[in-house]
Amino acid sequence: MQSSNRPLSPHLTIYRPQMTSLLSIAHRGSGVFLAVAAVLLVVWLTALAAGPQAFATVQGLLGSWLGLAVLAVITLALTYHFCNGIRHLVWDTGRALELPAVYRGGWLVIIGTPVLAAVIWGLGVLGYFGYLGGA
């Protein structure tokens, strides 16, 4: 088939961004990012199994400011993909597909993402000071 130079729809450069499209793009983006970030889990476990030196190196990297910033982004990507994934699962049951419900769910995801991330970091702080306290 001959390909023409006729423009293709949707024109992402002029198409007005909407919450629905942005959340959808963010779901794919966060998913790919998390797939890469999951390698860190394997690295952490492998270092933990390898011994004190490897583990200290990995803990040092993760505990640095850059490491903590990366972990913060990973946490937000995770809680976003988690919340929006549940939104998708609800849609798959045939529910909440009317436009108002789609937007309501979207706002729930936007609120739930930082809230869940804060809960995870709260546990992190708890763990950190727990170990400092010798618990």
């Binding site: 790919v32 889990l41 992190g124």
Partner: protein, 127 residues
């Protein structure tokens, strides 16, 4: 439970065309499994912040944790492979490159599950 397939397509077991239904369904099954698994994993790992080697190993070596970690690794990387597969199929149009990318994707994900599980087993048995 709602049925997602017609009776004929269920009999054929080939989804709408080839294996789209199977892929879609596996993505859903792994999603549902990851909801409790990731809630547990994120909380459990966060509590290991600042942990020293002994306490982190003790957490991993606890039989329930070791089991759940291996299950989580398998489900997580399978879900990741299914997801990235769709992205590759959407954007990589050269047939050879697409097939090579998909093979590499599944190889890497499988290797990561094996490497992670191996580490968990070593820690669990090393205590």
């Amino acid at each position: 439970m709602r049925s997602y397939e017609t009776a004929v397509s269920r009999a054929h077991g080939r989804g709408s065309t080839k294996n789209g239904f199977s892929h879609w369904w596996r993505q859903r099954i792994t999603s549902v499994l990851l909801v409790p698994l990731l809630a547990w994993l994120a909380g459990g790992l966060a509590l290991q912040a600042g942990a020293d080697l002994e306490s982190a190993r003790a957490w991993v070596a606890f039989p329930l944790n070791a089991t759940l970690l291996i299950v989580a690794l398998a489900v997580l990387f399978y879900h990741a492979a299914l997801g990235v597969q769709v992205v590759i199929e959407d954007y990589v149009h050269l047939e050879g490159l697409k097939v090579a990318s998909l093979m590499l994707l599944y190889l890497v994900c499988f290797a990561l599950v094996v490497a992670g599980s191996l580490a968990v087993v070593r820690i669990a048995l090393g205590g």
